[in-house]
Symmetry: C2
Subunit: 198 residues, 2 copies
Amino acid sequence: MAKHDLNNILEKGIELFRLNGYHNTGIRDILKACDMPKGSFYHSFESKEDFVIKAISHFEEVIGKDFEKNLSDESLSYYERIKNHFKIHIKWYTDNDFKVGCLLGNLSTEVAGTIDSVSNSISGVYDRWSRGLASFIKKGQEQGEIVDDIEALHLANYLFDSFNGAVGRMKVERSSEPLDLFLNINMTFIKNKEKNVN
Amino acid sequence: MAKHDLNNILEKGIELFRLNGYHNTGIRDILKACDMPKGSFYHSFESKEDFVIKAISHFEEVIGKDFEKNLSDESLSYYERIKNHFKIHIKWYTDNDFKVGCLLGNLSTEVAGTIDSVSNSISGVYDRWSRGLASFIKKGQEQGEIVDDIEALHLANYLFDSFNGAVGRMKVERSSEPLDLFLNINMTFIKNKEKNVN
DNA sequence: TATCAATAAACGATCGGTCTATTATTGTAT
DNA sequence: ATACAATAATAGACCGATCGTTTATTGATA
């Protein structure tokens, strides 16, 4: 039995990676943030690379739950559920003063081009998330809420990517405007105007 | 008169920042890439931060020209010019094996949250570029080529952000698919279907 | 007493940045 | 034109700090 809760360390690491990036976050910073002694890190993790891979998995688990909950809210139309999901995330970024990015977005731009294990790991998460979102988009298309001239899986992938781009810009502008633009424009775009659904 | 061409150093730095990121690119790496000794760097630049700010300016200049050229191609409709511009960039990323990001996109996610001078500098570039693109979007809207229910400046900002998100994903997937999706989906979205313009 | 997780201390490498010394280049006076 | 001081530019050794990682030792358990 480990004395230190590994999930706690992973979450502190995720927090710091999101705030300061991968290469600008030292292992010492993570350890200091959760009062773990300096020597203990390599008892639980093989390397920093191993740590970030496990952090990605933990992130998938935590955000994935939130994700499923939002999309399964049967009081809303499929279109509204998707909109609501992004709205909730926008609120979160706003509450964090526009200084924190998405773990996957940060790692994608910073290290996905140089560390293969990281890009492979992120790719898997996006694949699963996109298929999850796509299943709800498809239902929305079948209900006539969402435009159906674009494949659901393509639309899902695109929406995630576009949102990440807006998050990057948000950090620059220190404002929710890029996120709001993302939401308003894409929600206008994907709405099937022939039906009048909220 | 300087023996070393400052623009050459800036371009090598931009290349490395785009490939490996800001914190993962040491000043030594930049100097080695252009055979410049250490002492000369600090004769020309105050610090790494000063260097990256000047690199952003140089990047604005270089890409800005390319940008203006593409959008001023009078053989194409406004809609086609915009599409063509992004197409040219997609080809460039493809030629670079999907491992290189946009300087501004990289710096936005990696350091815009922590180094104010960088976020301010990037913000200025985006502001000028967005206004440039918006002026052409506006003309496209007036010609009935582009949907006009969204403000041109908003659309311009949104397109840049969305493209950057696709570039991040491209690095993860090592594929042009995210970029192609960005182009196909957005070009479908912004096209005014009432008129039949290429 | 044997085992092994947990931890402290130290490792070599590299970071951004400074320092002093040397070499080109320039402006000025003759 | 020539001599010479002044300054710009080049060169690389060097600095303390910090990087990711390794090693040696401790402390608890069986």
